[in-house]
């Protein structure tokens, strides 16, 4: 698998406070990588480091195969765009003027493509309206348009839906999915709004106290969070035999407890097990959301 970003024991300290303590993460090419953690977990610190706004205290990271200590890292950053904390836009300029400024910063030879960018983010009809008069969602979309100038193939978004209304959230979500599908842009999105992230992310990284607690694909997370019926029985071999005969997917979580990943006919299952002398001790539906998975992963509701 090709990775856009890999970090290796990344450490960042601010005086006596350690924001990142040996973080290891891998962002695959073409992924929408959801970076999840509570406030102060170290999400923005990592983003600042990879954007070159701050330098790591120890460890390293690798962007498109180039180490952060390499002199060519600045060139690699030209392939990425970012919206860190707030959209980086001039409030006294229009959307078009902001993009023109960014084109100059990038050293692009002409202003071709500005109209397409404005169309893409749905700001082509803002005319002479200054960015200071934009709604939060419009500013966020303009920030993304600015980050997209220069056709980056890696986009870093720090809390992109913070403070947005439901309509704004839908707009940003659709924009991210569109860019990922149509332009194959890799995304690193930090957020603590788990429900929203679970709708778009293809990979997840869970961070807590500067550590990456777990990294997994959406598929793995789906499996971990699948709806199931948890059944506790007296004879596991009987359950195996019955479920195999019924063609039902299942997994044993302990000697006498299994998760059944579909909705069996409970009466039929009970009778079949009874025929084999197996008793059902308990039967309950399990429904683990990303939120409960996250809470479980980080050890209790205090961490949510």
């Amino acid at each position: 698998m090709e990775f856009v970003l890999k970090t290796n024991n990344l450490v960042k300290r601010y005086g006596g406070f350690t924001a990142l303590s040996g973080l290891n993460m891998n962002v695959p090419k073409g992924a929408i990588y959801g970076f999840i953690g509570k406030n102060g977990a170290g999400k923005t610190t990592l983003i600042r480091l990879i954007c070159g706004l701050q330098n790591p205290t120890a460890g390293s990271f690798n962007l498109y195969g180039t180490e952060n200590s390499d002199r060519n890292i600045a060139k690699c950053r030209k392939r990425m765009g970012a919206v860190v904390e707030t959209p980086s836009i001039y409030l006294n300029m229009t959307a078009e003027e902001n993009l023109k400024q960014q084109y100059l910063v990038l050293g692009l030879p002409n202003y071709d493509g500005i109209k397409e960018l404005l169309d893409l983010v749905g700001l082509s009809d803002t005319g002479k309206k200054k960015a200071k008069n934009f709604s939060l969602g419009m500013r966020q979309r303009l920030g993304i348009a600015v980050a997209l100038a220069g056709n980056p193939d890696f986009l870093v978004l720090d809390e992109p839906i913070n403070g947005l209304d439901p309509q704004g959230i839908v707009e940003i979500r659709e924009l991210i999915l569109k860019l990922n599908r149509e332009k194959n842009i890799t995304f690193l999105i930090s957020s603590h709004i788990l429900d929203e992230l679970s709708r778009i992310a293809t990979h997840y990284g869970f961070i807590d106290k500067g550590f990456l607690v777990k990294e997994m694909s959406a598929e793995e997370l789906d499996n971990a969070c699948r709806k199931c019926i948890r059944v506790e029985i007296t004879k596991p071999e009987a359950l195996t035999q019955v479920l195999d005969e019924m063609g039902i997917d299942y997994k044993f979580v302990s000697d006498n407890v299994a998760d059944i990943y579909s909705k069996p006919n409970v009466t039929q299952l009970t009778l079949s097990l009874a025929d084999k002398g197996c008793e059902i001790i308990s039967l309950k539906e399990q429904d683990e959301s990303l939120e409960s998975f996250y809470i479980g992963l980080l050890g209790g509701e205090n961490n949510a």
């Binding site: 601010y14 600042r48 954007c51 070159g52 706004l53 701050q54 330098n55 600045a74 060139k75 690699c76 950053r77 030209k78 990425m80 765009g81 970012a82 860190v84 904390e85 707030t86 959209p87 980086s88 836009i89 001039y90 409030l91 006294n92 300029m93 023109k100 400024q101 960014q102 100059l104 910063v105 990038l106 050293g107 600015v146 220069g150």
Partner: protein, 256 residues
Amino acid sequence: MLKLLKGSFIRLFRSSEFQIMPFLLMIMNFMMIFMERANLQDTDKLPGLPLFNAFFHVVVIGICTAVFVSLFIGAEYSNATIFNKIIFGHSRTAVYLTYLITCLFGTAVFHLTATGVTTLVGWIALGKPLFTIGEFITSYLLSLPVLFAVVSFYLAITIIVQNRAVAIGISASFSVVLLIFSMYFCDGKHYDNKYLDFLPDFYLNKLAMSDMLISEGVIEKLNFPVYPCILFGLFTVIGLIVFNNINIRNTPEGEI
């Protein structure tokens, strides 16, 4: 860096702080000119425009420069637009020098605008200038190294503070203190003490009244501002070192 400069200059000409600054400076000059005009006994016989009338605003230009630099560069932090320049691979040195050159140019332009417009208005109100074009250009050029020292100082402050509101507060307070401190030494005894040129406002005071000081024999002639040149170099180097090693963050408007 040329593209960065182009973008920065476009922003400069569009910025309200840059557009307003010459008018603020001219107010002081116009007040002097119109007071003199009002005191004239015979308006048919105009006395002429002395050099100090055209340059009197340099007394307060330190305060205006402090406000201009902190507003203009501070906006890069409050809007977080400084991030775009760093993320897209520009070196911090290039970004800093772009800011410095833009502010130096901006200050030189609004100073020249204020001086030029004042001279024209003064010409109409008080009569033909009592100075030559050479004296005008010399005075303007002598003021530039001092202004550059002032700009580099306030740019370094803004870069270190990384917060527009706080930078304005600190820079404006500093500039007022420097002005008061300089005024304290503005007497005949100290004008020839070149070490006091380390206070940029002291030199600017001297420059504002140079034609009077020279004609009254207080100073022989206006010296070249060597010490402000040293200060300019020093503040630029300090600013560059700090900017290359600082953790860049943004503070949205309203947050301190």
